[in-house]
Point group: C2
Chain length 216, copies 2
């Protein structure tokens, strides 16, 4: 039995579990996003700004995925929302099984919006369904406008693209129009937001979009 | 046979091939670095500045690893050094077998310094020996000072840390002393350089270090 066969079996098993998790989210009317990006693009910062804006309007919970440490869970915890940390111990992506286990510590009936923050990796998490409604891909302006072309699978499998750190545009070699053009050439259906967690620009619009997707 | 066993076999096979490649490098007196980082940390930019400085002093060749596209090989080609592009087609890291194949297109006898630019991924490439003398890890200031703690394996397995984009320090929430402290807490043997490809700062020092490692 070759590595390819094993990989296919792992993915099949993952998809099966993800489908069960998705049913659970549906029954509980919980809107779920899986946030993916390179390390340091601003997943946790966007999440903090989002919770700040929305926590008095809807009940939010967070599943934090990290290769190591619970630093991100600690950052999120300060906002008094339920948070579960998954440490993958070297693993390069979250899998549905890990999310299933994490969900045992969250009362979904209460939760309208669940955020799963994936491991920082623009490659591997693209192939793993976690039962989410959609993948939100964060790319920072400092990473360069060529990234959609070089890492296409993540852009194809995501529904939302948040271009973050737009406050740094004057200082980096990145034309945001080219970046958007490249992203939309890979996936024309991407809904694009532009944000800065430093200035707060664009966070309002992103949060309105979330509120429009909450099921009551 | 479980996935763990398969993974171990894949790594064993990789290490065996890497060891053969390492012998080949040694026979030819070629100093080889494997450059690793997140997407967009500046691997190709550092490489361009390095080639500019060194190409009249030593014969350089480049192996470019990318998930998709030959954009990086085209950037490097402009400096008239031999370059071979490996497209992994979704693969999240380079393996020794791919490097072995790429080497069929490079006359190592001529080459004193070979740079292998890995796929942009701070997790998976850490486990794959490519026969290099050492791994050079690039981390940009925009990624944040917590990254050594969150992605420790890459920091443990690297010998050199280049902190890039230091020109952006005034605009980002990153204390470079904390970043270095975090990196050295994970791997006290790391040799650290600080660079900016925009201003050119630190490139000279890094290039001098390379020249000190060339075998004639």
């Amino acid at each position: 039995m070759g590595i390819i066969t094993i990989e296919r079996k792992v993915l099949e098993k993952n998809d099966e579990l993800a489908s069960q998790i998705r049913d659970k989210f549906k029954i509980n009317n919980t809107f779920v996003v899986n946030i993916v990006s390179s390390p340091g693009s601003g997943k946790t910062s966007i999440l903090e700004r989002t919770i700040e804006k929305l926590k008095d309007k809807i009940k939010i919970a967070v599943i934090e995925g990290d290769v190591q440490t619970d630093l991100d869970a600690k950052r999120v915890e300060r906002y008094s929302v339920p948070v579960v940390q998954i440490v993958t111990n070297g693993g390069c992506h979250l899998e549905a099984k890990l999310v299933k286990d994490a969900l045992e510590n969250i009362d979904l009936k209460e939760i309208r919006f669940l955020v799963i923050e994936n491991v920082g990796n623009l490659v591997c998490p693209a192939g793993y369904d976690l039962g989410e409604d959609l993948k939100v891909l964060i790319l920072s302006t400092t990473e360069g406008e060529d990234k959609p072309l070089k890492y296409p699978k993540m852009f194809i499998n995501s529904s939302i693209l948040i271009i973050n750190k737009i406050d740094l545009l004057p200082y980096v070699d990145c034309n945001i129009e080219n970046l958007k053009k490249n992203a939309l050439s890979i996936n024309p259906d991407l809904v694009v937001f532009e944000t800065s967690c430093t200035t707060g620009e664009g966070i309002e619009k992103w949060c309105e979009w979330i509120l429009g997707n909450i099921k009551y």
